[in-house]
Amino acid sequence: MEPFSQLLLAFIVFLSLYLLGSSSLTGCIKIVALQGMCLGALPLTVRAEGFRLRGLFLAAGMFLLKGFVIPRVLLYAIREVKIRREIEPMIGYAPSLLIGAVLIGVSFALAERLPVPAGLRTSLMIPVSLATVMMGMLMMISRIKAITQVIGYLVFENGIYLFGLAIAYEAPWLIEMGVLLDVFVAVFVMGIIINHIARAFDSISTEKLTRLSDY
């Protein structure tokens, strides 16, 4: 199973990079969905010694929520506000890709120095999770449309999930469920808020929100 999990991890990083360079919103949502599905499948591949029912259950929940439910909410949101493309990112697509590549390098360097249990040192899991977190962050920072920020947030959260998976495979059931629920509610709320922003400002560009600042 080890090679399979390595493959999945590489695929996850690749998807994050792809997101950084893609301008179509529908495409972005589909990629995030795919990334979510990979994440859902990942726990099934890391442990060789058979599955527990609980693990299967969680994986299925993750798969469904991140692969189908959340993308649905987001697709609904962009259909409501009628936008297709992120036109003017603060950092262009090619530079974002370059920065993304640098971030992957940085995360490998960081992962070397992180005080993690010895067994994990060689695994790809830690650097991939750090890279995913950073790229999600980069996406939130560099994009202007509210919807892409939500996507960035999802990528960011995927990274955190990966990190959790690496550190504590046996994370308590309740915490896992709590995290899943959090993400779902967050995306749900953001989907609704995006609609409201669009209605109030005639646009979902967060630039317009600066009007709300004190001065």
């Binding site: 960081l110 992180l114 929100l209 709300l212």
Partner: protein
């Protein structure tokens, strides 16, 4: 201690029930009255037993929160303040039902009832708390409930402003208290009050820090001079019965905190005691000077609360001086004066706020200059106002005299150790305060109740309902009763002072007997004067029985068309005194005098803004803004930038730690 829990739970339960039954006014009202009655019976029994010398064992439940425990206990100091909370709270709560009914929906009844009961419950818990964590919870609940009361008429912009100011002030105070308890807790290794008392001595610097933290933290609530800024804004904004509870009891909780801390940590240094006395006198003189200059009568009462807090602080400072000099009888006398004045202030100030509320409802304004001639129209309300006004001025047959008399006695005692100059100055300042109080309250009573009505509303004013008059009458009866028979109140005050000064019962009761005898004699004299006046009044009535008493217009110096507006006004009556203090008061006057032979328009307007709030605070905030303007440039209001800041910070900390 079950009784205390019962009282707190009764108040909390009544708060919940009254808001659940918000649709049915009658049920909500019964819930409030039942809760108040139950709390009064339970808490009153407990307080009375404690003061009588019965030992009440503490109640201690552990809590999963580190350092915290539900630990409540009772001693005379707690019992004394609990009595105050319950007496004033029940009178004000009962009155509040009439007041809410009389406001015809201008005041939202449900939140006012809820917050009022929560305020009382929190204060009852506060005085019994024996754990700093529990104390802070009760303190914050009290502060927030009061915020709810202050801003209940939030439709008005000035009310919102007052509410915000109060909220900021109370949180600044809480911040200082948190620092104080953190410091004490670190030293003691526990947040229990008993551990604070048993802890190793603090270093000199820590003692200074504790003193200053407590002074600001508790002083913000009590309203010591530069920290009083919220008081005169918040009291007029709250409904009258809430102002009564806030002014009569809540601000005293600041003093309770100081006294409790003194009883735990022992004497302060002599310099600190001097500082407290000086601060108290400055606060008192400041408060009463500004009270004189006000036109809004609730604002006048709020400033007079500042004055009374000053007098109480003076007494407490004198007690500290006695402690520092190891002079037990002086310490006891000072603290007893302070505590007795606290009790008395709670009674007469809440009486005055309640009667002011009745006048406000009858006339519809808080402007003194729109009132006048109310004695004829609201004889009961105005009569009770007169009792409260006389009591607050410290006139002898009433209770205001007793506490101030103890403090004067401290100052006039020829004891070695403290310079005569200090005593003489302090006594003179107190006398000045007393005289100004007479000026301020003769203005209040005279301009609102006597003379001719200055407005239509004042002419048509009607007496409030009995449910408002009853509690006022009870408070007035207590004021007169304590004045004539002071020994029960003295007993309470001395028992509590004994706790603060750390003295045993026998020593306390010896001192108590001495002062009780003297004050009892004065009370009897007062009773004699009252009886004589009553006799003379009856005699006058008998003489006038067969004669006709006529009413005529006031002689107007030959002017042919006098109107009711040609009476003394709120600014002209105290003018001889306010002119002397013109530099300090900085009254803003806008005068447009009549010009030419046929003047068309002329006007005069005066306003006395609070110096700390409107002159000193802006300077301070301007300085702060100057300092903070540099980091403020980082605020663009753009979401992406904030995210960048956060991630940059995280990455830097990660790199730095690795």
């Amino acid at each position: 201690m079950i009784l205390l829990l019962g009282a707190v739970l009764a108040l909390g339960g009544a708060a919940l029930l009254s808001s659940l039954a918000s649709r049915h006014d009658r049920w909500a009202r019964s819930a409030v009255i039942a809760g108040l009655a139950a709390a009064a019976i339970a808490g009153g029994t407990l307080a009375w037993r404690t003061i009588a010398g019965q030992r009440v064992s503490d109640l201690l439940w552990s809590w999963p929160v580190p350092g915290a425990a539900f630990h409540v206990g009772m001693d005379s100091l707690s019992a004394c303040f609990l009595l105050l909370v319950l007496v004033v709270g029940c009178c004000a709560g009962l009155y509040g039902e009439g007041y809410l009914a009389g406001s015809h929906g201008h005041i939202p009844a449900t939140p006012v009832r809820f917050f009022f009961l929560v305020l009382l419950g929190a204060m009852a818990l506060l005085v019994a708390a024996r754990n700093a964590f529990l104390f802070m919870i009760a303190w914050e609940t009290m502060a927030l409930a009061a915020f709810g009361l202050v801003s209940c008429e939030h439709g008005k912009p000035e009310v919102r402003k007052a509410g915000l100011l109060y909220l900021i002030c109370t949180h600044v105070g809480s911040l200082f208290l948190l620092a104080l308890f953190a410091l004490l807790g670190r030293n003691a290794g526990s947040l229990e009050f008993s551990a604070f008392a048993a802890a190793p001595a603090l270093s000199a610097a820590e003692r200074v820090a504790v003193f200053l933290l407590a002074l600001v933290g508790f002083g913000m609530k009590a309203g010591f001079m530069p920290l009083h800024i919220w008081l005169q804004e918040a009291h007029p904004a709250a409904p009258s019965h809430a102002s009564a509870a806030m002014s009569g009891v809540m601000i005293e909780m600041g003093l309770y905190g100081l006294l409790r801390l003194l009883s735990l940590l022992g004497p302060v240094s002599i310099e600190a005691a001097f500082f407290l006395v000086a601060l108290g006198l400055i606060t008192a003189v400041f408060g009463i000077t500004f009270a004189m200059a006000q036109r809004d009568f609730k604002r006048l009462l709020a400033y007079s609360s500042i004055e009374n807090i000053g007098i109480i602080l003076t007494g407490a400072g004198l007690g500290c001086y006695g402690l520092a000099k190891h002079h037990p009888s002086l310490a006891l006398l000072g603290f007893a004066g302070a505590i007795l004045h606290t009790l008395n202030h709670g009674l007469f100030k809440s009486l005055l706020f309640l009667s002011a509320g009745a006048v406000y409802q009858a006339v519809g304004t808080r402007d003194i200059e729109a009132c006048g001639g109310l004695q004829k129209r609201l004889p009961w309300t105005c009569g009770l106002t007169a009792v409260g006004a006389a009591a607050i001025c410290g006139l002898p047959p009433l209770n205001g005299f007793t506490g101030e008399w103890l403090i004067y006695n401290w100052l006039l005692r020829p004891d070695p150790g403290h310079g005569m100059l200090f005593s003489a100055l302090a006594a003179a300042a107190l006398a000045l305060v007393g005289a100004f109080a007479v000026a301020a309250f003769s203005k209040y009573y005279g301009l609102t109740c006597l003379g001719q009505p200055r407005s239509e509303a004042a002419r048509d004013a009607r007496e409030p309902s009995w449910i408002m008059l009853g509690p006022m009458a009870l408070l007035a009866a207590l004021c007169v009763g304590i004045g004539l028979f002071p020994s029960p109140a003295l007993h309470v005050a001395f028992a509590a002072a004994g706790d603060v000064a750390g003295q045993a019962r026998p020593a306390v009761s010896a001192s108590l007997d001495e002062w009780s005898r003297l004050l009892g004699a004065i009370g009897l004299l007062g009773a004699g004067v009252c009886a004589l006046s009553a006799l003379l009044w009856l005699f006058r009535g008998a003489l006038l029985r067969r004669r006709k008493v006529g009413l005529g217009p006031t002689w107007s110096c030959g002017f042919t068309a006098p109107t009711a507006r040609m009476q003394y006004t709120g600014s002209s009556y105290p003018m001889p005194l306010t002119r002397v203090f013109a530099a300090a008061l900085a009254t803003r006057e806008e005068i447009r005098p009549p010009l030419g032979y046929w003047p068309v328009k002329a006007s005069f307007e005066s306003r006395t803004p609070d110096p700390a709030l409107e002159r000193w605070l802006p300077v301070l905030t301007a300085k702060f803004e100057e300092w903070l303007s540099a980091p403020r440039r980082l605020q663009y209001g753009r979401l992406q930038l904030y995210l960048l800041y956060v991630s940059a910070f995280l990455v830097i900390t990660l790199l730095w730690k690795l």
